[in-house]
Amino acid sequence: MTTSLSAPAAHVAPQEPQQLRPDRARHTRGGLVLRYTLLALVFALLVGPFLWQFLTSLKDSSESIYTPNPIPQNPTMENYRTVAETIPVFRYIGNSLIVATSSALLNVIFGSMAGYALARLRFRGRTVADVMFLATIIIPFEVIMVSVFLTMRSIGLVDSLAGVILPTAATGLSIILMRTAFLGLPREIEEAAMLDGANSWQRFRTIALPSVKGSISVVAIFAFVFAWDDFLWPLVILKNPDNYTLTVGIQYLSGTFSANQRVIAAGTMIAVIPLLALFFSLQRWFFMGVGEGGVKG
């Protein structure tokens, strides 16, 4: 067994130079069998629960969901229909889309602007700005949650999607990621542009921003997924069930419908399938984000 077998291995972490990986050329047959057995075991542990839930969601009401046979005998979409009849699930999907998309857009715009200023511009009070952004990272949101709720109430944003979005519209992590990206660009081109009379906004828009598309994707994806998955803050600020995001709505469904596992299973699938699709189509950005965020954030 040699590395010649390794050709089809998907390249998940493009920024990671391959030659740094210890290349253990001598995989023994026994070692490989053991490794793949372990891989399959972990696969079953991590994917099994999703699969079990998915299959439960397809079983019709005549079939027992307690049988050890996981395969539905008469696969049905009935449970998904029941979800739509019980909660306004399309509305919740819409709300989650609005929240997640706005959060992604705002983090890209505000995060790149602030990151650019911190990386390139000279101005008074930059230490103060640094400290402020650092503080937003150090202070856990859970600590200030009650107080943020009061702020939202005084500006009339309780029970609104804007109230869900705004606190995460420019996270410290987005700013740091963008700042790091801009610091990695060569200064010379911007300096040349400056001599040609380009102001800082022009340099930002036409030179710097187009060069950091990778980091922009990472920031957008992480903000989107975080906002889509977030539960505590939407739960706190949204009161009227019509305004719920999907996570809060699914939890609400499980509360009112706790007897029917098939329907709850269908609800969870509605919440998770779009994200899994997003992940599998854009996975290299996800891995890149963990690498950068985990190490530097």
Binding site: A10, E16, P22, L39, W52, F123, A135, L276
Partner: protein, 281 residues
């Protein structure tokens, strides 16, 4: 001004609320009015509040159990998926998928698996390991323990990727030299891999600990919002929400509790980083 939007958000929704939390913690503010200065009364009440101590105990316990698992298991997983072999990229991606799912989804999936008539109990009974179904979700201690396992289950893939980046930097020469010297895989893991990723292990420990102190969704979802019988599986964030945003809306008291959480988090982080500094020569 480039910084303006981000600064406004930071001030309005992070810094001002933090200052406000400090101020409110010395008042008897409620959701509907009130707010006169009461000195240290809220803090005195904290010391005598059995729910606060229970929540603190559960939160610290959560950290103590979850952090070692999150430091060790993802490292083993990363070593498992590191070599370039057929289909290994597929396994990496799939192992990451619980990370992208919402904790609500993950919590509900496990609620179903761990229910008294759920898959896990069926399996245990079929294998004659237990006679009666185990009360995974209805016994407070078991519930808390199950939540911890769910946290670990969902976090594995994330920290695996963090470790993969670090493993890429472990010197290939060291591995080869060790191999030439006749060191087996286990020996090489202990003598080459572990020292190589030691800083990353510290980092993962810190990230895991901070996340564990903020645990909420697992407990809330898997107990249908009750934190177990009598709220015995409550965590600090669960209790803060209940006190400050529940029917009573005791904002002042919840603020004092929030600051206790803040001190716990920051205190731990500072102590942890000091310990790390002392370790590294």
């Amino acid at each position: 001004m480039f910084l303006a939007p981000a600064l406004i958000i930071a001030v309005l929704f992070h810094l001002w609320p933090f200052i406000n939390t400090l101020v409110l913690s010395f008042t008897d503010a409620r959701a509907l009015g009130g707010g006169s200065f009461v000195g240290l009364e809220n803090y005195g009440r904290l010391l005598e509040d059995p729910n606060f101590w229970l929540a603190t105990r559960n939160t610290v316990l959560y950290m103590v159990v979850v952090v070692p698992l999150l430091v060790v298991l993802p490292l083993l997983l990363a070593v498992l998926v590191q070599p370039k072999l057929p289909a290994i990229g597929f396994f990496r991606s799939v192992y990451y998928s619980p990370v992208v799912a919402s904790m609500v989804v993950v919590g509900l999936i496990w609620t179903w698996l761990l229910a008294s008539d759920g898959m896990v109990n069926q399996l245990l009974q079929a294998l004659r390991i237990v006679q009666e179904p185990l009360p995974f979700l209805t016994d407070a201690s078991l519930l808390l323990f199950c939540c911890m396992l769910v946290t670990v289950w969902k976090g594995l893939g994330y920290y695996m990727v963090v470790y993969l980046a670090a493993l890429g930097n472990v010197s290939k020469d060291c591995h080869e030299a060790a191999q030439v010297d006749g060191a087996g895989p286990v020996r090489r893991f202990w003598s080459v891999t572990v020292p190589g990723v030691r800083p990353t292990m510290f980092l993962v420990g810190l990230l895991g600990a901070i996340a564990a102190m903020k645990v909420f969704a697992e407990v809330f979802v898997m107990s249908y919002g009750t934190a177990g019988p009598g709220g015995q599986a409550r965590t600090l964030v669960y209790t803060i929400r209940e006190v400050g945003l529940g029917l009573g809306g005791e904002v002042g008291y919840a603020s004092a509790m929030s600051l206790a959480l803040f001190v716990l988090t920051i205190g731990f982080s500072v102590g942890y980083l000091r310990a790390q500094k002392a370790e590294t020569p």
